[in-house]
């Protein structure tokens, strides 16, 4: 009896220890972008579609700064013309919105299935943010004012069952000195009411995070009632539901692509200021991982730097940014190492923007955009390959030129 009791106690202790240990150990995913796989586009891309955006005098714009995808439209924010442009999913121009908006940003209000455009920069009064509501085709519906909280709710991610998850923005004090406080980086709401605040971070212990980023990237969509967030610099991946935050993995990058732990956790403001200056010019240091998408055994993500890769030359061309990671085999594949082939009509399908911002994802498809300048340059360089352009592209090449609007690329990847 004594022996059995002690054995049972031993098992119980082991079981407790087992779960304790498991609760503390987070699996590390060792990601070395330099040894990611590539290949021909056809090995990875199941379908690809080029959607030229209609170019008229009114619809002509500079570049896609932000893109919102709905069931029926593309809504594009362009900083050059300071406009929001609405196109159908086939690229036909619908509407252009210009006005007093300094920095055009649009959000899909899922409840009303409308588009909300708000003037959030500069934010002069957080209790009364001027907004305009539009239909999905760009028709103005109403002008209204929202509080910051209301806007955060709309910008939040729907988890289902009336739950919404939002991120908390940290306001840096006027004097630049961070005060000791604990901030909950995630808030969940039920209906319009606050449900819970989760994911506490002490500001003094994470000074670099609060000075550089100030909030978490919570993505643009949820999956089974959760979203995926990655903390900057130390790259811990968490699954966030309405109640809790569950650590999943830690992305570990090579030493030359990441900041040392001592720097990340530094409390010396001079060190942090110095690091921020370095990050402002360094194209190699991975600062945040975002756009996490799980698809079966595969995980898609973007490893971002803080400097826009301005050209294909140098690090912008030799570094990799968008990845497919096989959770079973550990195989890492990079979009930047795919070679265009007949599937893509030998045309490019990733751009500088997709490297920095990541690719958009909607309803099982990845979206990027390519400038007409690059498309026409690629067309000229690949004549000898006799590509077989689909009718849409044939029409595009016959009627447009290198100064036309960008082309949306819609891709479905192989399982």
């Amino acid at each position: 009896m004594k022996v059995i009791s002690s054995q049972i106690c031993g098992c119980i202790i082991c079981i407790i220890l087992f779960f304790e240990t498991n609760a503390q150990v987070i699996e590390k995913l060792r990601i070395n972008p330099a040894i990611s796989y590539g290949g021909n586009a056809s090995e990875y891309i199941k379908t690809i579609e080029y959607i030229p955006l209609e170019t008229t005098k009114e619809s002509l714009f500079g570049a896609v700064s932000e893109m919102l995808i709905t069931d029926s439209s593309f809504i594009i924010s362009d900083l050059d013309t300071k406009a929001l442009l609405f196109f159908t999913r086939s690229g036909r121009f619908l509407q252009k919105i210009k006005g007093k908006i300094v920095y055009p940003s649009a959000w899909l209000d899922k409840k009303s299935n409308t588009i909300l455009v708000c003037n959030t920069f500069p934010l002069t009064d957080p209790h009364s943010i001027p907004c305009i509501r539009y239909s999905l085709s760009g028709k103005k519906l109403q002008s209204l004012s929202l509080t910051r909280n209301e806007l955060d709710l709309i910008r939040g991610i729907d988890l289902g069952n009336e739950y919404t998850v939002t991120r908390t923005n940290y306001d840096l004090p006027v004097d630049g000195k961070i005060k000791d406080t604990t901030l909950f980086l995630i808030s969940t709401y039920k209906g319009g009411s606050l449900y819970k605040r989760i994911f506490p971070f002490n500001t003094l212990e994470h000074q670099l995070f609060f000075k550089q980023n100030r909030s978490l990237n919570i993505g643009s969509m949820s999956e089974n009632g959760s979203v995926y967030v990655v903390t900057p610099f130390d790259h811990f991946l968490y699954k966030v539901s309405k109640d809790k935050v569950t650590p999943m993995y830690q992305f570990v990058f090579p030493a030359n692509r990441t900041l040392p732990r001592g720097i990340i956790e530094s409390k010396d403001s001079r060190v942090i200021d110095s690091v921020q200056k370095i990050l402002a010019h360094d194209q190699n240091i991975i600062v945040n991982v975002k756009n996490i998408i799980f698809n079966g055994k595969k995980m898609y993500f973007n490893a971002g730097v803080s400097v826009y890769p301005y050209s294909d030359l140098g690090s912008g061309g030799s570094n990799q940014f968008n990845f497919i990671y096989d959770l079973n085999s550990g195989k890492l594949t990079s979009f930047e190492r795919f070679t265009p082939d007949s599937t893509t009509c030998y045309l490019p399908f990733t751009s500088l923007r997709s490297r920095y911002w990541g690719m958009d994802y909607f309803d099982g498809f990845f979206y990027t955009n390519i400038s007409s300048l690059n498309i026409f340059a690629a067309k000229g360089a690949t004549k000898s390959k006799n590509p077989n352009y689909p009718p849409v592209l044939q029409e595009y090449f016959n009627t447009q030129n290198s100064r036309s609007n960008p082309v949306i690329v819609k891709m479905k990847l192989k399982e």
Partner: protein
């Protein structure tokens, strides 16, 4: 006509006769010969090429950043190289047939790939197919640090920098950085010194990240640094988020680790004769330059002396023309045959640059520059001139003058400048001083005639003077600016400002003596003979200048509100100038034979100027850009400035006690439009309006009359007002932005007028004496225009052309009174020219230039009588390097000058030289030069101003022959 042989290049089978205007035949010879040279190098019908694809052996992706190069087996010289396209495919061509070659493919982090091959006539195209490259890993599969690749990678991307590996390019052992740059793909070195990369101008060429030898002149680095000391030539592309096609370029020369210290220099001496006949003068030239550098300091010393009119104004000019590469086709440091007299300059200088902090720190500079230059010159000038003044429609006053003078000047200049720049501020502190000592001896005589009368007066004079002027200036400029990185709150009061102060102290002392004799043929009672001594002509001055600028006035008043996007700036400048002059004059009393004080010209005076200008500036910029398409802006600037000007003169000569104060509104405004169409062109238009006031001096208001000079009697005018000048300038500039064969156009028009122009009103007496009253007069207007077009054409890598056309036109109305009659002199001038430059690698350089100038002055008050003159020149410059160490150089200029109805004066200046380099690294040079071979040089003066035309001759440097020896000491590394 002579048949001249020694300049004919070897191999040229045509005997070349040179007549003044038959330069084309001479040029044709060289082109024919150079064409043969080029033809021998490559035959495009007998070449092949190789193709392939490069792929990573493990990770299944194409290596689009690899470098693919083909070398000759025998000597590993680089034949061609390329980068793969976005599919990993490459083609290397043209490659010679029947020559053993090897292909080397390199990529950061990979083991190089080698393939030997031979192309033949039957197999001139070789497809390597898919070539796999293997990562550089250790036995455990870990990636190794990049190892030194034995094969010399010609080109690669290192981060955002394009790097060319100097060792990969095989050049002559004495090649310089400039020779290497000519061979690099994409680089073009233009005749005017610009360097472009893929059509885009390189803003600066740095060495180890710093300006080289304290100068922005790129040739100092590129023509002196040996290719063997170079590790890499880097090209930086400054980022432009909106368009990857558009960027600002800088080039940086990185030296090999063991070559970061060194010295280079030149020592030369030449001796020659003025001509080949008895009684000839001796000629000499001596030059020295020694420059040294290490990681933190650079110092250069220069010295030169000659008696052949080779002048340089600063250290840069001597440094530039002592380069290891030689003078090439540059005429900058050659004997100046236009200069009056035979000059005997002795010059020297030192420059130092020291950096206190390492480069690479963002916005961090701490640099000290110091320099010293001394210039001594002595010259004997003999002038003969005819001055014609139209004083009535039918009357011309002509003065025939002859003079001889000896001038000696000693100028010294020293300066030091410290520059410190960091994130939040920049500071510039400088100090400089000059000492100028002039000695002059002059002897002259003149005869003046008047239409219908004949000779009216004669004058002769002898004078001697000595003057020393010292000047010291010190100042600083401090700017505070906002930090450059994120996180800085903009809620505070903006604290950007700039403040500057300069003090200038001058000290002038002089003495002179003169003897003048005046003889009036019709009025002998006015004859004068004056002997004069200036015991002193001294002056001391102090000038203080303050300026302050506050650029963020809008934010201070309106906070962060937009205010229509208009920026406001407040600035002010204040100048305080005080000048003390003392003249002591004595004239010889012919009765007592003693020198007695001239109370009319002896004085002490103090002059004070206070000039305060506050300025308020409004500016707005409209910007429109479309990524990948265009970038446009339109800016408007308006400055409202009020000038408070106060002048006071207190003198022992009572008539010169005067003063005045004025307040003048002196606004200016400008608008500018800029349109950059990416990948196509860039155009800029600007229009600006400027105003300024020019204030009368004491010598205009109350001059002291020299009673001993009856030919010139100034009367002054105490009621003179300031003149007010306004002009409008329009400028246009167009440049193509395509990678090849750029061209650009610059044009401008200036339209202006001077209200209340201060001019002289002259009354002439029957004996040619002139009494001058200063007056304000309206009606002075001017219009100038110019256009300049430049085009470059690179036929292939070896042959480049440059073309240029220029035209300028000027028109001015200059009214003044002559003998009570208002005469407006309408002056028209037109000029222009064209030039063609041709270059075949380093072997042949050819320049052709043609220039023309026409001047016409019409006197509207005098029945439109005119003065006319014109001049033109045609020039050809040829430089030929053949065989390797022998440089043949020749430049010939035909000049023609016509004034009024006189016969045209033609002369041709032809210079030629033969230079041979010898010793192990071409460090020694012997040069034979023949200058003004045709011995025709003439110093012509041909000007028209208002109603006065001046035409004359001066003695000038003429023919001489010289043999020069030079040695170029140089060492790079320990």
């Amino acid at each position: 006509m002579k048949k001249l042989h020694f300049y004919i290049p070897a191999g040229c089978k045509v005997g070349c006769h040179v007549k003044n205007s038959r330069l084309s035949i001479f040029i044709f010879c060289l082109l024919f010969c150079s064409g043969q040279l080029y033809a021998q190098q490559t035959d495009s019908l007998k070449t092949g090429h190789v193709t392939g694809k490069v792929k990573d052996s493990v990770y299944n992706f194409m290596l689009i950043s690899a470098t693919v190069a083909v070398y000759r087996d025998a000597d590993s010289s680089l034949m061609q190289f390329t980068l793969p396209n976005s599919f990993g495919e490459f083609t290397v061509k043209p490659l010679p047939l029947n020559v053993p070659l090897h292909l080397v493919i390199t990529h950061v982090g990979y083991k190089p790939l080698f393939k030997r091959f031979l192309l033949t006539k039957s197999e001139s195209i070789l497809d390597f197919g898919l070539l796999y490259m293997y990562q550089n890993t250790d036995k455990n599969g870990n990636l190794l640090e990049e190892v030194v690749v034995k094969a010399k990678v010609p080109m690669r991307m290192n981060g955002d920098t394009l790097e060319f590996n100097a060792d990969a390019f095989r050049l002559d052992s004495n090649a310089t950085a400039e020779d290497l740059m000519r061979r690099l793909p994409g680089f073009t070195i233009w005749g005017d010194g610009d360097i472009t990369f893929n059509g885009k101008k390189i803003n600066a060429v740095l060495v180890e990240g710093k300006p080289f030898m304290g100068t922005s002149d790129v040739t100092i680095a590129t023509q002196n640094l040996p290719k063997g000391a170079l590790d890499k030539i880097q090209v930086y592309q400054q980022r432009d988020e909106k368009n990857p096609l558009d960027s600002t370029l800088y080039a940086n020369i990185k030296l090999k680790e063991d070559k970061k210290t060194g010295y280079f220099g030149k020592v030369s001496a030449g001796y020659g004769l003025s001509n080949l006949s008895p009684g000839r003068d001796k000629r000499y030239v001596a030059d020295g330059m020694l420059s040294g550098f290490n990681r933190k300091m650079q110092i250069t010393t220069v010295a030169a002396g000659n008696n052949v009119n080779k002048l340089a104004s600063d250290v840069d000019a001597l440094l530039r023309n002592s380069s290891f590469k030689g003078e090439g086709a540059s005429l900058e440091y050659q004997s100046n045959f236009n200069m009056r007299g035979v000059n005997r300059p002795v010059m020297g200088g030192v420059r130092l640059q020291s950096d206190f902090i390492a480069e690479g720190q963002f916005r961090g500079i701490s640099r000290l520059n110091a320099d010293y230059f001394i210039n001594h010159n002595a010259t004997d000038v003999i002038d003969t001139s005819l001055e014609r003044s139209l004083i009535t429609p039918d009357t011309v006053l002509s003065r025939q003058s002859n003079s001889s003078s000896y001038n000696q000047s000693d100028d010294q200049r020293a300066g030091v400048q410290y520059e410190r720049a960091a994130d939040k501020y920049s500071l510039n502190v400088s100090a400089s001083g000059t000492i100028n000592e002039d000695r002059n001896k002059n002897q002259s005589s003149s005869i003046q005639e008047k239409t219908g009368i004949g000779v009216v007066n004669k004058n002769s004079s002898v004078s001697e003077s000595r003057n020393i002027a010292k000047n010291m200036q010190a100042g600083f400029s401090f700017s505070r600016r906002e930090p450059s990185f994120y996180g800085n709150s903009n809620k505070r009061v903006p604290t950007e400002f700039t403040v500057g102060y300069t003090i200038t102290i001058g000290d002038n002392s002089g003495k002179s003596q003169s003897q003048n004799n005046y003889e009036f043929t019709k009025e002998p009672q006015r004859n004068r003979n004056v002997s004069r001594v200036y015991d002193q002509r001294n002056g001391n001055s102090v000038e203080h200048k303050f300026n302050v600028t506050y650029p963020r006035l809008k934010e201070l008043i309106f906070g962060r509100r937009g205010v229509g996007g208009i920026d406001m700036e407040l600035s002010a400048s204040y100048r305080l100038f005080q000048n003390d002059n003392n003249d002591a004059v004595r004239d010889l009393d012919t009765t007592t034979h003693d020198y007695v004080p001239n109370t009319g010209l002896t004085y002490s005076r103090t002059e004070t100027v206070r000039d305060f200008v506050p300025k308020f500036r409004l500016s707005k910029r409209f910007y429109k850009g479309l990524t990948n398409r265009y970038n446009k802006y339109f800016s408007v600037n308006v400055n409202a400035a009020q000038q408070y000007y106060n002048y006071a003169n207190n003198s022992t000569q009572a008539i010169q006690n005067l003063g005045y104060s004025y307040q003048k509104f002196i606004p200016d405004a400008s608008i500018e439009y800029f349109n950059h169409q990416y990948g196509q062109y860039e155009v800029k238009y600007s229009l600006d309006y400027k105003t300024r006031a020019n204030y009368p001096t004491v010598w205009q208001m109350a001059p002291l009359v020299d009673a001993a000079n009856p030919l010139y009697v100034p009367k002054g005018n105490r009621d003179l007002k300031p003149e007010y000048q306004q002009d409008v300038n329009f400028k246009y500039s167009f440049t193509t932005r395509k990678p090849k064969n750029p061209w650009n156009v610059d044009a401008g028009i200036t339209l202006g007028k001077i209200t209340g122009n201060i001019v002289d009103s002259s009354l002439y007496d029957n004996s040619g004496g002139r009494t001058v009253y200063m007056i304000n007069i309206d009606g002075n207007k001017y219009l100038n225009g110019n256009v300049n077009i430049r085009k470059a054409l690179a036929i292939n890598k070896a042959n480049t052309f440059e073309f240029g056309i220029r035209y300028n036109n000027g028109l001015s109305n200059d009214p003044r009174y002559i003998d009570g009659i208002l005469n407006t002199s309408v002056n028209r001038s037109q000029g222009g020219g064209f030039n063609i430059n041709y270059r075949n690698k380093d072997i042949v350089q050819l320049k052709l230039e043609q220039g023309l100038n026409y001047n016409n002055a019409e006197q509207r008050g005098f029945r439109n009588n005119r003065f006319k003159s014109n001049s033109r020149y045609t020039r050809a410059i040829v430089t030929l390097q053949f065989p390797k160490d022998l440089v043949w150089s020749s430049n010939i200029t035909y000049n023609r000058s016509v004034a009024g109805g006189a016969n045209a004066i033609n002369f041709t200046i032809w210079n030629a030289s033969l230079t041979y380099r010898f010793l192990k690294e071409n460090q020694a040079e012997v040069k034979f030069s023949a200058l003004d071979l045709l011995r025709q040089n003439k110093g012509i003066t041909n000007t028209i101003k208002g109603n006065v035309q001046n035409f004359g001759y001066s003695n000038v440097l003429q023919q001489y022959f010289m043999l020069t020896l030079a040695y170029y000491p140089r060492k790079f590394g320990k």
